[in-house]
Symmetry: none
Subunit: 213 residues, 4 copies
DNA sequence: AATGAATGAGCCTTCATTCAT
DNA sequence: TATGAATGAAGGCTCATTCAT
């Protein structure tokens, strides 16, 4: 809760994250977290006052690390290791950035075990929180924005052909959202995701740009 | 639970449906249902043995009525009143059927108050049920199938132009799923839905085919 | 809680009364009452929702029975058995009524085991309730009023001599309150009470009127 | 606990006193005291081992200072500033001392915010301590004794007329106790207290002796 | 069939007290 | 001496489920 999360708090948040990704939000009890953390009831309350409190802290930690989130275009720039044989110091092409973005999304969709999608839905669906501080809405908007940026860059450089960039970005974002939803409920194969991304890419670009991992 | 649902059971299911659509699945208690049904605790247990039991019965009833679901192409045929001035006995054009389908989807997305989306997600997310008897998966597949059917009909009749019907159907289905997800968590305007559907339609058909309600 | 207290509720209130008189208010837990009543946790909550709820119900029951309260002049009229050899049908003299009143007060002070004084003090001291619905204030005012009534009757009939009836009544009421307070904290002997009442009576009446029990 | 209360201990007791006077005894937690004292949990335990321990220490400090207690005749002697225009070095008259005593009692009754009455009641009511070391009993006896002393002096000097000094003293002490009780539960006005004291004084002395502050 | 009082397990939260630093 | 994180017992409340009537 403080500026510097103590070792204990980090430990709690890590364990709690696992639990939320496994059980969603509504089913998680303080007891679950106590058990997982090997901590006492009172000890947990010393750091967090409710499951909600913990969940929000998990989300905040999530943001500051970015480990689970969409790879922002910025991140990608500095993290050439995600891509094969591309110099870190070089400005990445739009195609590369798009490929990286999709790869990240795919990872997110497939490894739903690590994901908080369900917990997020449960939390916000029962919360009518203002759209402003709604994590899911924010995530969606970020996603749209990232796509727009990449695609419009690619359109300028001639890599992509796309008349309605905004429309394309929204369309893709909804497809990704739909895939995430399905993934929380049904197990989805890599092929399924690939097939879908391939379909979308066809609309703007020669296919060989999209490199499978 | 017997073969024929008694009057009492129908009443219980109707009330329970309202509750599930309002509160999702995990938050609903037997007490909630007892209160809403003006029935005794014991009386309820005479018919259903748990909240889950009731929820499953609601879903089953849902299917046999189809009131909340996607309008299947079959349904649409028989329900000319959804469309303007089209004789019930006439075989509808693909465009009309597609318009009706989208209109139904839009209704479903916007009136999430009547919907069981959240309850479904909560139920199946905590259930790892086999894909076969997974309601959401089934709904998605039905949706894809309906779209394929309509669009391939339209392609034959020259109303639509679409090379990859299967791809288009899946794409649209995921977008719809994404919209449904967002709608359970953020309030979504009619314009938002319209814009999205319009974008997709552009891909296969002249716009004037899509009639707003 | 309803109009007719069920057998169970009566049982709970009776047991709870014992507990309150023994432990006051603040120390009493739902668990205490559960244990004393041989009832389940849930069962208790079926009837009462908190210790406070139960305490208030005890007070209400108290009032409607009047077993623990000051003998009102009305009560005394019909209850000749409290006095020695006085015909029930006869209108009692002021002296007799005063004797009865004091006897009742004495009983109340001495049998503090049965009394709710401490519980009342604890409850209202932490409650800043409006004076109107304050049980202790009401009890005090009733007490003053009863004394005034009796003494002014006695003054008219020549049994008592008292110039400032209101002052006398208040004075006596405070003394009684002081005795009740002391009794909750220190054990007080019958002699102590007698001595005090005797002293006060001297102020208005020849002593032989006051008959010890 | 030590022979000489350290600076820290004095600080703790002062803060604790405030808390007890505000919240009584049963509601006070170690945490309350820790918070008020700007001390650590462990630090507090270094000095006192429980809330009860602290409370008892507060009472002991109280006695040795006498700040909250009845003004003993001795105290009054040295505190001429409570009385108007009477030389400190002069032996005070019984009337003056009685006036001072009553003024002090009035202050105590009215400013119950500063008082420990409630805390005392709560503490001793749950303690069945022997009458000997019972603070309330002691306070009461002191009060009676002080009154007796003053009034018998006044009787000798002709200032008061009182046949039964002991009876009068007890009577007044109980009235004061009753007033204190009522004050902890109902808010009591200055007029109410004045009226009561005036009534009692009439019994032994011409009224103009009693000077209002 | 129907009732609703009763049960008891389970989760929430608070607090006195301890203990490693 | 002093700190404050950690502990665990205790009490509050809710809910699925049972059962005598």
């Amino acid at each position: 809760m403080g500026a510097k999360a103590s070792r204990t708090e980090k430990h709690i948040l890590a364990k709690a994250r696992e639990i939320f990704s496994k059980k969603g939000f509504k089913n998680v009890t303080m007891q679950d977290i106590v058990d997982a953390c090997d901590i006492s009831r009172g000890g947990l309350y010393l750091h967090f006052s409710s499951v909600e409190d913990i969940f929000l802290a998990v989300l905040k930690a999530e943001d500051s690390i970015g480990s689970d989130n969409e790879a922002s275009s910025k991140n990608v720039e500095g993290e050439g290791d995600y891509l094969d044989g591309i110099s870190v110091s070089t400005k990445l092409s739009a195609s590369d950035r798009f490929a990286a973005f999709l790869k990240e999304q795919k990872r997110f969709i497939l490894r739903r075990k690590d994901g908080l999608s369900l917990a997020l839905m449960e939390y916000y669906s029962g919360h009518n929180s203002s759209p402003d501080n709604n994590y899911i809405k924010g995530r969606f908007d970020d996603c749209v924005h990232t796509i727009e940026e990449i695609v419009s860059d690619g359109a300028l450089s001639g890599e992509f052909e796309c008349e309605d960039v905004a429309g394309f970005a929204r369309n893709l974002a909804y497809v990704l959202e739909g895939l995430k939803t399905m993934a929380t409920v049904v197990s989805i194969s890599e092929q399924t995701v690939d097939k879908e991304m391939f379909y979308i890419l066809q609309g703007i670009v020669p296919v060989d740009q999209y490199i499978n991992n």
